[in-house]
Amino acid sequence: MIAASPETLMIAAMLVPFAAALLLPLFHAVPAIREGITLGAAAALAVIVISLVPHVMAGAQPEVLNWELFAGVSIGFKLEPLGMLFAGVAGSLWVINSIYSIGYMRAGDEPRQTSFYVCFAIAIASAMGLAFSKNLLTLFLFYEILTLSTYPLVAHKGNDAAKAGARIYMVLLLGTSMGLLLPAMILTFGAAGTLEFTAGGILSGKTDTTTMAWLLVMFVFGIGKAAIMPFHFWLPSAMVAPTPVSALLHAVAVVKAGVFTMLKVMVYVFGIETLTETGINEPLIYFVSFCLLAASIVALMQDNLKARLAYSTVSQLAYIVLAALLATSTSIVGGGLHVVTHAAGKITLFFCAGAIYVAAHKTEISELDGIGRKMPVTMIAFLIGSLSIIGLPPFGGVWSKWFIGMGALDAGYTIAVAVLMLSSLLNVAYLLPIVARAFFRPLPGVAPDQPVQLAEAPLACIVPLSLTALACLVLFFAAEPITEMVAMAVTERPAIPETANAR
C-alpha cells in the first residue's frame, strides 16, 4: 500500500509502465537488467493499483488532467469503480505475466526480446489510460494505442503465418473501431453534445429510439475487442503469437479492454434504465446469446489447444456483453465480476498451454495423452482453470455466472438463463476431456505402471500458473469486495422510482 493521493497514484499507474517502455531499450544488451526493469515496473504497478482500491471503495472519484481540445471535447482521466476493476486486473496480472514471459522467452530462446518487453509495457500503459478514461474520446484513443502496441507482439515470431495472423488482428480491430465505434462516438456527440461518462447515461432524451438502437448496434459491433461475431476471428488468428502474448490478449488487457468498454458504454453512455426502458437491447440480447452458444460449439471442434481456448474466450466474452446488454444492476455486477474471474481462469489455461509447448513441444489436444503424468502441476492447474471457467464451486467463476443468470431473470429473459446453462454444459464438454485425456490415457510408448520422469516447464512458468490457479480459488471466497465495488457503479445514480419498484 502506498499512502499517496489517489490522483498521484493514477498518474503513476500510467507513467510507470510507460517509463519502463522508455528505459528498456537502453538495456538491450543486458537481459538481466532488462528483465529486472520489467519485473520492477510490474510489481510497482501492482502495488499502485491495489493502493487505489480503498479510495474507490470509499467512494472517491479522483480526476487528473483535463485537456479541453474544444468545447465539450476533452482528454482526461477519472477513476470510477468499473475502471478500477479493469485497472486492477491488468495491473496485477502484468507482474505474474512478466515472470511467465521471462521463463517462456528464455526457455524458447525467442528473438527480439527487448521489443517484446517494450511493446508489452506500452500495451499495459495504454490499458491503464483506457481504464482511467473520463470520456469516450480518451477511451477511444487508448483503445487504438492498445491495438497498435499489441500488433508487433502478435507478429512476434516474424514468419509468414505470424504476419498474416497479425494483419487480420490489426485490420479487424482497427476496421471495427474506426468504421463503427468512431462514427458511433461522433454521432453520439452530435446528439448528446458531450462524451463524458456520466452516471445514468448521456443519450437519454437526447435522440429518438431508432437512432439510439442504431447507435447501440454500432457500439456493440464496433468494439471489436469484445469479439462479438462476426468480428471475432481476430482472436483465433492471433493465437500464432507466443503464449505470454496470448495471455495478454485473452486475460490481461486486450479482450478485457473490449468488454470493459462495452460495460462503460452501457452504464455511462446509454444508461441501464434507458436501455431497458426503450427495449433497444432486446434484439442484441438474442444475437449475443446465439454467439455465446455458437462459439462454444466451435470450440468443441478444435483440436489445437490454443484455438480451443480462443473460441472459449469468444464465448466467455459474450457472457459479459450479454450481461452488459441485460442492463440490470445484478447483471452488470455479474459482468464486472466475470471480467475478473474469466481473466484468472483463462490466464491459467493459457499459461498451461504455453508450459506444455515449452516442456513437451505439443500444441494439439490429441497429442496430450497421459501428459498429466509428466506434468502433474500444470495439468492440475489446468483442471482448476477449467472448473472456474465452467463455473463450478469452489472457484470464482461460479459467482459471476450466478449473477449474470440472476440478472437475466431480473430482466425477464428466461431464455438467456437457459442459454447460460446450456453453455456451461458445453464448457464441460470442451474443457474437461483435455484433463481426462492427460490423466487417464496412457502415455504413448510407456506402460501404465512404469514410473515416468517428471518433465515440467521451467519454474518461471510453473510459479505463475500455480498462482493464477490459486487466484481462481481465492476468488470464490473473496468475490464480495469486487461485487461491492461494481455495484457502486450502477447504484450511485439518481434513483428512478419505477425501476426501484420493479426490483
Binding site: L69, L141, L174, G190
Partner: protein, 505 residues
C-alpha cells in the same frame, strides 16, 4: 521620441503592404548576392521579418477588425485595396510562418539540389513565390489577385524545374500548362465580372453583382463557373489535380515542403473569398448548384486520391495523393457551408499545412541522405533514422486524424458540420476515407519499422540540427494544435462566422 513612436505607429498602419513588399524587395536583393550561404542568410532574415509582420497583422485584425489599405493612397474602388479580415489574416500568418520556419531546412537541403552559382536565384525565386502567395491572400482586388497568382505560379514552375531529377522539367512543364489554363479561366471569370459590374474591387463587385445578376444572370453564372474551375485547378481539386503528384515528387525537397504547406491553401482561400465573399454576399449561394458539385468532388477526392496513394510506390507521390485527399476534406467543409463545417475546412488549412510540412520535411531529410528513394528501399529506415521516422509517423497520425494530433481537430469539426447539415452518412464517409489513410500510412510504417534494414539505408543517419529543428518545430506544432485550439480552431471559427454573417440567404 515622438518620431520613434510616430514610426512605430506608421509601421502598424502599413502591415498589410509590408507583408507583400518585404519579400518582393528582398527577392531583388537576394538575386544580386554572389554566394549561396549569404543568400540563405538574407532570405532567412526576410522570411522571418515577413512572418513577424503577418503575425502582427493577425493580431491587429483580431483587435481592430477589418483593415483596409489603399495602395499608393489611391482610394478604392479606383485604386488597389488590400483588405484584411480574420480569414485572410489567418491564411497570411500560416503562409508567412511556413515560409520562415522551414528556412533552416533549406541550408543543407538546397545545396544538394541546386549548384552554388544558382542558389541566389533559387532563393530569389522562392521569395517571389512567397510574395505571390501572400499577395493573393492580402489583396482585395480581383485583378490584382490574378497578378499575384501569376507571380506565384511562374515562380513555382521555376522552383519545380530546379529539382535534381530530369523529370522535374517535365513536371514543371505539366504544371505550367495546367496552371496557365487555371489562371486563364480565372481571368476570364474576372473579365466577365468586370463587364457586368464595371469594377474589380471584390467588395465593390459584391455590392453590385446582385443587381447585375437580376439583369444578366447568365454572364454572372458563367463568371462563377470560370472562377471556380480556374481556382479549383490551382488548389488541385480532384480531378484537376494531375499536375500535383509529379510536381511534389520531383521538385527540390525544400520547394516541395513549402508548396505542399502553402500553395494550394492560398487557392482555397481565394475560393472562399470569391464564392462566399463575392457571390455569396449578393446571391443566395444555396440556389446555385456549386455546393453540391463541390461536395461530390470533395468526397471523390477523399476516396480516389487515398486509394491512389495506397497503390503508389514512391513516398513523395503517396504524400502528394494524400494532399489531394486532404484538400478534399477542406472543400468538403466549404461545401457544407455551415459554421462547424467551415470551421473544419478553414482550420484544416492550418492543420494540414503543419502536418504535411512535417511529413515532407521528414521525407526531405531522407532524400537528403538517400536520393529519391522508392518505398521498398526504405525498409528498416526507422532503425537508422529514428528521429526523422518518428516525426514522420507523427505526421502520418495527424493525416489519419488520431486524437491528440492536429488532424483530429479538423476531422472532428467536419464531422460536426456533417451532423449539423443532417448528413450523418457523411460522418461514415469521413471515417471511411480515414481508414484508407490508415492503410497507406500503415504501409509506410510497416516498411520503415518491420522490415530488415535494406542495403540503401545501411549508412543513413538522422540529419543535422538545421534539418531537425524545423522537423521538431512542425512535430511540436502538430501536437500543439491537436491539444490547444485557441490559435487554430477558435480563429477558424471566427472566420467561419464572418463568412456566414456576410452571406445573403
Amino acid at each position: 521620441m515622438s518620431t520613434a513612436s510616430g514610426a512605430a505607429f506608421a509601421l502598424k498602419d502599413h502591415l498589410a503592404m509590408l507583408v507583400v513588399v518585404t519579400p518582393l524587395l528582398g527577392s531583388g536583393v537576394v538575386a544580386m548576392l554572389p554566394r549561396g550561404a549569404a543568400s540563405w542568410v538574407v532570405t532567412t532574415a526576410i522570411t522571418f521579418a515577413t512572418m513577424a509582420f503577418s503575425i502582427l497583422l493577425l493580431w491587429e485584425v483580431q483587435e481592430r477588425g477589418v483593415i483596409s489599405y489603399a495602395i499608393g493612397g489611391w482610394q478604392p474602388p479606383i485604386g488597389i485595396e488590400y483588405r484584411v479580415d480574420i480569414l485572410n489574416a489567418f491564411v497570411l500568418a500560416i503562409v508567412a510562418t511556413m515560409g520562415a520556419v522551414t528556412m533552416p531546412f533549406a541550408l543543407r537541403s538546397v545545396p544538394s539540389d541546386v549548384n552554388p552559382a544558382s542558389q541566389p536565384w533559387f532563393y530569389a525565386i522562392y521569395l517571389l513565390c512567397l510574395t505571390g502567395l501572400l499577395g493573393m491572400a492580402v489583396s482585395g482586388d480581383a485583378f490584382n489577385i490574378f497578378v499575384f497568382m501569376e507571380i506565384s505560379s511562374l515562380a513555382t514552375y521555376v522552383l519545380i524545374a530546379m529539382g535534381r531529377d530530369k523529370r522535374a522539367l517535365l513536371a514543371a512543364y505539366q504544371y505550367l500548362i495546367m496552371g496557365t489554363i487555371g489562371a486563364t479561366f480565372y481571368v476570364l471569370g474576372v473579365g466577365l465580372l468586370y463587364i457586368v459590374t464595371g469594377t474589380l474591387n471584390l467588395a465593390d463587385i459584391a455590392g453590385r453583382i446582385g443587381d447585375a445578376y437580376a439583369v444578366h444572370p447568365r454572364p454572372v453564372m458563367a463568371a462563377l463557373a470560370f472562377l471556380i474551375v480556374g481556382i479549383s485547378l490551382k488548389l488541385a481539386l480532384f480531378p484537376l489535380h494531375v499536375w500535383l503528384p509529379n510536381a511534389y515528387t520531383f521538385a527540390p525537397p525544400f520547394a516541395t515542403v513549402f508548396l505542399a504547406a502553402t500553395a494550394t491553401k492560398v487557392a482555397v482561400y481565394v475560393l472562399l473569398r470569391i464564392y462566399f465573399g463575392v457571390f455569396g454576399a449578393a446571391i443566395d449561394v444555396s440556389a446555385l448548384p456549386i455546393a453540391e458539385a463541390l461536395l461530390v468532388l470533395a468526397i471523390v477526392a477523399m476516396f480516389v486520391a487515398s486509394i491512389l496513394a495506397f497503390y503508389e510506390n514512391r513516398i513523395e507521390r503517396i504524400l502528394a495523393y494524400s494532399s489531394v485527399a486532404q484538400i478534399g476534406y477542406i472543400i468538403l467543409g466549404i461545401s457544407l457551408a455551415n459554421e462547424n463545417g467551415l470551421t473544419g475546412g478553414i482550420v484544416h488549412i492550418l492543420n494540414h499545412a503543419v502536418s504535411k510540412a512535417l511529413l515532407f520535411l521528414a521525407i526531405g531529410a531522407v532524400t537528403y541522405r538517400l536520393g529519391h528513394p522508392y518505398l521498398e528501399q526504405l525498409s528498416g529506415i526507422g532503425r537508422k533514422m529514428p528521429v526523422t521516422t518518428a516525426a514522420f509517423v507523427l505526421g502520418g497520425l495527424s493525416i489519419i486524424g488520431v486524437p491528440g494530433t492536429a488532424g483530429f481537430v479538423s476531422k472532428w469539426q467536419l464531422s460536426m458540420g456533417a451532423i449539423d447539415a443532417e448528413m450523418p452518412l457523411l460522418v461514415f464517409l469521413i471515417v471511411a476515407s480515414s481508414i484508407i489513410s490508415v492503410l497507406y500510412i500503415g504501409r509506410i510504417i510497416e516498411v520503415a519499422y518491420f522490415r530488415p534494414v535494406s542495403k540503401d539505408c545501411e549508412r543513413a543517419t538522422d540529419p543535422g540540427l538545421t534539418m531537425l529543428i524545423p522537423i521538431a518545430l512542425m512535430a511540436a506544432a502538430t501536437l500543439y494544435f491537436g491539444i490547444d485550439t485557441a490559435l487554430s480552431a477558435d480563429i477558424a471559427r471566427d472566420a467561419a462566422k464572418l463568412i456566414l454573417t456576410g452571406l445573403k440567404s
